[in-house]
């Protein structure tokens, strides 16, 4: 039975990782706690739902488009709004994104209504040594993890990726090297939004989506980001998997009613005990 719990935790954790990676990148590079992240995930999910259900397109065609739309949206938000206040104390950027979240969420309720919606698929389950694994979850998790790894690779090996990392390590020096910082900031936020869109598409396959889920998604992203270290892409994967498994074990020992608090309590403990994240110093991707 315990193996089933661990598999459950890992499957959920993979999705959590995808959910958190964009949030973590933005926090780490821009030093912005993006309260809008949850709503961007929900927005991605609704774009996918709209494309598949209303336009009748296949998911594999809709999902990339949804992600690109979100990328543009994120880039525009950062370039047009956030860049202007990015030098302010964190309270300012945090409340600004909170205000944006209120706007976007209200718009989502209006356009897509608050009724739960989801893509219903049936890919069946695989059974292995008494452990049942639903195929759709494995798929969702795989896509999430692969995208995250691609992002990791791009950050290390592409020119823009190197620039992002450079900005994260030392903005001052990066600016002197001729890196256009506002553009890099906007790109990073755009990538964060792109990943949120991807997570949203995976969510639409697995969860009945409502606009109100944004808060739950945001909460998970917070916890994972702190567990894995700010701005660290591999950290987000590890943090996500850890959170998934810990929530599962929390259910087993403390009961389901405490399962969601376990994450927050763990986060507070980590913040107090390891103020620079479990990984110790800031990882350089």
């Amino acid at each position: 039975m315990i193996s089933q719990y661990i598999v459950n935790g890992l499957l959920t954790g993979g999705l959590y990782a995808c959910l958190a990676v964009g949030f973590s990148l933005v926090w780490g590079v821009l030093n912005v706690v993006n309260m809008l992240h949850g709503s961007m995930v929900v927005l991605g999910a609704y774009f996918c739902l709209y494309g598949v259900q209303q336009l009748g397109l296949p998911l594999y065609a809709v999902a990339p488009v949804a992600c690109v739309i979100l990328f543009v949206f994120g880039y525009a938000i950062q370039r047009g709004l956030l860049n202007r206040v990015i030098t302010q104390p964190i309270l300012i950027t945090l409340t600004l994104t909170f205000g944006l979240d209120l706007i976007v969420n209200n718009l989502i309720i209006h356009v897509f209504s608050a009724t739960p919606q989801s893509l219903v698929t049936n890919f069946g389950t695989i059974e292995f040594a008494g452990v049942r694994v639903p195929v759709v979850r494995v798929g969702g998790m795989l896509v999430a993890v692969v995208l995250t790894l691609v992002l990791y690779w791009l950050l290390r090996h592409s020119k823009i990726g190197r620039a992002i990392i450079a900005v994260r390590m030392d903005r001052h020096a990066a600016a002197l090297m001729g890196i256009r910082i506002p553009h890099i900031y906007a790109l990073t936020f755009g990538i964060g939004a792109f990943m949120a869109g991807a997570a949203g598409c995976a969510m639409a396959l697995i969860y009945p989506v409502t606009p109100m889920m944004s808060g739950v998604f945001l909460g998970k992203a917070f916890v994972i980001c702190v567990l894995g270290g700010l701005g660290s892409v591999p950290g987000a994967i590890i943090g996500g998997l850890v959170l998934g498994v810990v929530e599962g074990l929390g259910t087993l020992t403390l009961g389901q009613q405490w399962a969601t608090s376990v994450g927050f309590i763990m986060m507070m403990a980590v913040i107090v005990l390891f103020p620079t994240g479990i990984m110790g110093k800031k990882g350089y991707e």
């Binding site: 039975m1 089933q4 719990y5 459950n8 935790g9 499957l11 959920t12 209200n106 309720i109 209504s113 608050a114 009724t115 739960p116 919606q117 989801s118 219903v120 049936n122 069946g124 389950t125 059974e127 049942r132 639903p134 979850r137 969860y207 009945p208 409502t210 606009p211 109100m212 889920m213 808060g215 739950v216 998604f217 909460g219 998970k220 998934g244 929530e247 599962g248 259910t251 087993l252 009961g255 389901q256 009613q257 405490w258 399962a259 969601t260 608090s261």
Partner: protein, 399 residues
Amino acid sequence: MKTTTSIIAALSFAALSAAPVLAQETIKLGAPLALTGPLADAGAKSKQGYDICVSAVNDKGGVDVGGKKMKLELVEYDYQSETNRAVQIVQRLINVDKVPFLLSPYGSGDTKATAVVAERYGVPMVAAAAATKSVFDQKFQNLFGVLFPNDMITEAEVAYYKKHVPSVKRVAVLALNSLFPKAIAGEMVKSATGAGLDVVFNTTYSPDTSDFSNVLTQIKGLNPDWIYATGYTQDLILIRRQMADLGLEVKVLTMTAGPSYPEFKENVKSLAENVTTNSWWHQNANYSDNYLFGSSLKYNEAFNAKFKRDATYLEAAATAACQTLAMAIEEAKSTSADAVRKVLHEKTFNTFYGPIHYGQLGQNEVNAALVMQIQNDKLLVLAPENLKQGELQIGVPKK
């Protein structure tokens, strides 16, 4: 600085004078609605229920108050699913909009909080979406509930399944940690234990739960015959899907109140088959209604014409709440709170919703609990016997 002050002054003036313009000869019903926030979906449904009642009453000329026809007017505000806000809005409705009657906010918790205010001012408030006994046990004189108490529902269900599936012995109960689901789950445990069933699992889950695989794995290990789950519709959808993922099979799966809503079926498709539920109302019960709609079926037709879908107990109860107020005003021949309150306490109202008798405690005590099951994509009534549309199908599909 000066301009800012004057802008603020101007805004405050605008805000203070923002009360809707008084229309002549209307009876205002105050309605705090949850149009945004976690209850947004349910709030929108309640609003539809109220709207159809108000327009139906007004179409036939209005409420006959001692020979004078008065139209109904709904004064609505969004309370953002926040209790604090709901309380404030009820204050506003009573003091600024001077509404003589109130319709309660959605859900047992918010109803209870706002009932304190209504009681203080002596304004009758009819609750369309509160079934929990603890809401009505404060001996409030001004609170009336359309839904009959939870335990009538659970008693009816336990009796039905015990009779039709004698092999059901082990029950697992999973409920959202929130006032109503928790209360009905508590009644379920009581009814089941009382009937000699074995409650093998009884847990609540947090409102922020995003995954049920672990708790369902736990339940699977206990091998229950009957699973009773209650919570938000999106939670029930996820529970049903993850049950299939984990290969959790049971003889009876009951969910409250998700399967009553069309989105449940839309989101689980074939997995909805054989899921049972309970309800306070269904159009097939077909009660006759001489005052407004004619009958339950005709009410549903009217609803369908307006909103392009079938009504569920939620909208029906909202309509009934508004309708009993209108009927009580006609009977009292007055819009005074005291006269109407007296009628509400004493009369039995025959509506499309069924007979409604609020009695001295204020909660409708006419038992018409329905046991229902989704079969071939349709929600059928299994019990009571006189409304029966089908036989219970045992077991739920694997996928």
